[in-house]
């Protein structure tokens, strides 16, 4: 129990600290790296909650794909972040005021918030049945009860792929590609012409 508590505070602290670093570090590449650290620690939090599937997905999808994509974008687009940051102090008072108002409103709402009595037990049970793992339970739902939605989501991804190809693929004309089959199939007669050239005439 004590190890779990320590692990929770460790993961939570690193998540928040690296989230702060994401928005405060000067170098955008460092920001993305801190974002990855935040993702890893959130995944740790998910594992503590017994949601190992979400943890794995978080790492595979967000670290593996999204963060790497961010890294590419940050490196490829030459955005001048120092310029974007200019005037930070100038806008601090108004931004801080709006943030403060939002915070007060949130406190008002949360102080009147009443959780349903059964909410705590429902939230604690990661698996409806009990003796099967989280991933197993999700898989059973997705491929049986929600097969229709699963297929629909697949179609949406297919359309996204078609769309990306339709809007960006260009067949460039005038590009000289090497066609090895053509090169090999070439005969001597197609390549070399023998001419008799008379003296002092040229072709």
């Amino acid at each position: 129990m004590i190890i779990e508590t320590i692990a929770f505070y460790l993961f939570a602290f690193i998540t928040i600290a690296s989230a702060v670093m994401v928005i405060s570090s000067k170098n955008p590449v460092h920001s993305v790296l801190f974002l990855i650290l935040a993702f890893f620690n959130s995944a740790g939090l998910f594992i503590l909650m017994g949601a190992e599937f979400l943890a794995m997905i978080l790492i595979v999808v967000y670290v593996g794909a999204v963060a790497v994509l961010f890294l590419f974008v940050v490196m490829m687009l030459d955005v001048n972040f120092a310029e974007l940051r200019a005037g930070f102090l100038q806008y601090l008072p108004i931004g801080g005021l709006i943030g403060l108002i939002l915070l007060i409103e949130l406190i008002f709402i949360l102080s009147a918030w009443v959780l349903a009595p059964e909410a705590e037990t429902v939230a604690r049970a990661p698996v409806p049945g009990g003796d099967i793992s989280n991933t197993d339970a999700l898989g059973r739902l997705i491929y049986t009860d929600y097969a229709y939605l699963f297929q629909a989501a697949g179609l949406i991804l297919l359309v996204a792929m078609i769309g990306a190809i339709v809007l960006t693929l260009r067949e460039r004309v005038g590009v000289r590609k090497q066609k090895i089959a053509d090169q090999i199939a070439r005969k001597r007669e197609e390549a070399v012409a023998v001419r008799k050239v008379g003296t002092g005439e040229g072709i």
Binding site: T144, D145, Y146, A147, Y148, L149, Q151, A152, A153, L155, I156, L158, V159, A160, I162, G163, I165, V166, L167
Partner: protein, 480 residues
């Protein structure tokens, strides 16, 4: 999941498989397979329609309530399939002329239509959202299909950004509703709200968000800002498609969401619908007066038409929904016809979009002028053309529901709107041509124009053809 589930969803499964098969045809066929793929897509729409009718067996739920089939859904699906097929037929010549004939066009139409059918058949907020996204994603791509022109790309990007915003609104509202009701299925929500005295405030907030997102999809004021720009920027056949099939699907979805799960909360959403309806009718009438581009004009006109259709929904009664269904059927015919005429507007092989370009059409192409005049009179709501009956039924329902202000404002705005429809007729018949429009128009066009024109003119002879199924469809929505 059982085999009956698969049979209930057979039209959708067929379209999904055909979409993927057409993709393969497009990739492996020799030459430019655009025409082949488009014709196969039209045939698939026809077969899907036949399957939908053949497998229909009363109101049924499938996949544990995620998917729902009833007369209302069937009727709306047939309208959507018809709209998609007709716009795809009239597209062909245009996309070939404008060098945008790539086979993905037809494939995206198939997937968009599939998304619309899934929206119409949704029995759960999750399946609704997935259908909506499938449809929207296809539409964003089709809007930007002419990627080399700045305006088409701009239209696609604008539609995408604002569409993503509305999806966000929808998800936020849906999560609120789920948080307060504990279920996302329409049947579950309906029983949840049936007995209670007053719904929680958070629930109303959720419904407002969902209504706002759906109002965005049907482009009702005040969520219409994207419509004129997207309609003007997108290639004309795409605009024709946008104005017809997605709009009918979104209206059907709007109706189902408000009547089925939130049917017992009429008092909560009626005022929202009344206000958006009045604003849409007014904006559709007044903003269109100053337009010079005919596609922009049609965009404002479609905003106005959505306003009239929402009058039927605002009534919240079976007659109101019947009026709405009839209105959308007639709207389909009028709009497909008008856009077919717009697609025929060419000067020296170049497509033109100015309203002035129609001047003197009665002298250069009297048949087309006559058909376009019929559509304009019908849109203005002049008896005995079909458009008059569409308006008649929704206003009748509004009067029965004692929404007198709404009905009176509706009639007044339709008088204003009549001005710009009649202006087009005046241009065609009483002004001198500046530049002659090209002739001849394609054979496909003649067939589509003839069919929609005849329907619009002769609706009053056989109104029962639409009225009876529409009444049955409305009944099925209120029974379940």
């Amino acid at each position: 999941m059982t085999s009956t589930d698969l049979i209930v969803a057979l039209p959708e499964i067929f379209l999904a498989v055909m979409g993927m098969a057409l993709l393969m045809v497009g990739v492996f066929a020799r030459g430019n397979p655009s025409r082949l793929v488009n014709y196969l897509a039209v045939i698939s729409f026809a077969i899907a329609g036949i399957l939908a009718v053949a497998t229909f067996d009363g109101s049924q739920s499938a996949f544990g309530g995620l998917f729902r089939v009833d007369s209302f859904g069937l009727f709306m699906k047939l309208l959507v399939l018809l709209g998609s097929a007709l716009t795809l037929i009239v597209s062909q010549d245009f996309i070939e002329r404008e060098q945008m004939a790539r086979f993905e066009y037809g494939v995206l139409f198939v997937f968009a239509t599939l998304g619309m059918m899934m929206m119409i058949s949704a029995g759960d907020l999750i399946s609704l959202y997935l259908g909506l996204e499938l449809q929207s994603l296809c539409l964003y791509v089709i809007a930007a299909f002419r990627r080399d022109t700045a305006r088409s790309s701009e239209a696609g990007l604008k539609y995408f950004v604002l569409g993503a915003l509305s999806s966000g609104l929808f998800l936020y509202g849906a999560s609120m509703v789920y948080g307060f009701a504990g279920t996302t299925s329409f049947a579950g929500l309906a029983t949840e709200f049936a007995g209670e005295g007053g719904p929680a405030v958070g629930l109303i907030v959720g419904i407002v968000f969902i209504a706002a997102a759906l109002a965005f999809k049907v482009s009702a004021v005040p969520f219409h800002m994207w419509t004129p720009d997207v309609y003007e920027g997108a290639p004309t056949p795409v605009t024709a498609f946008f104005a017809v099939a997605p709009k009918i699907a979104a209206i059907a979805l709007f109706t189902r969401v408000l009547i089925e799960p939130f049917g017992d909360l009429v008092a909560q959403w009626q005022q929202i619908i009344v206000v958006t309806s009045i604003l849409s009718m007014a904006l559709g009438a007044f903003a269109a007066l100053v337009q010079t581009n005919i596609k922009r004009l049609m965009a404002y006109s479609s905003i106005g038409h959505v306003g009239y259709a929402l009058v039927g929904l605002a009534a919240g009664s079976q007659d109101g929904v019947r009026g709405l269904i009839v209105y959308m059927s007639i709207y389909l015919a009028m709009n497909v016809g008008t856009f077919a005429c717009i697609l025929c507007m060419r000067v020296n092989g170049r497509a033109v979009e100015g309203i002035r370009d129609l001047a003197g059409l009665s002298k250069t192409n009297p048949m087309m002028a006559l058909v376009l005049a019929i559509f304009m009179f019908s849109m203005a709501g002049i008896p005995p053309l079909a458009g008059f009956f569409g308006k008649l039924f929704v206003f009748q329902a509004a009067l029965e529901a004692e929404l007198y202000t709404l009905a009176v404002i509706g009639v007044l705005t339709s008088v204003v709107a009549a001005f710009y429809y009649l202006r087009i007729i005046k241009l065609m018949y009483f002004d001198d041509p500046v530049e002659k429009l090209d002739r001849p128009i394609g054979r496909d066009m003649v067939v589509v124009l003839g069919a929609t024109g005849l329907f619009t003119t002769l609706f009053f002879v056989f109104p029962a053809l639409i009225l009876d199924p529409a009444a049955q469809a409305a009944r099925s929505l209120f029974a379940g």
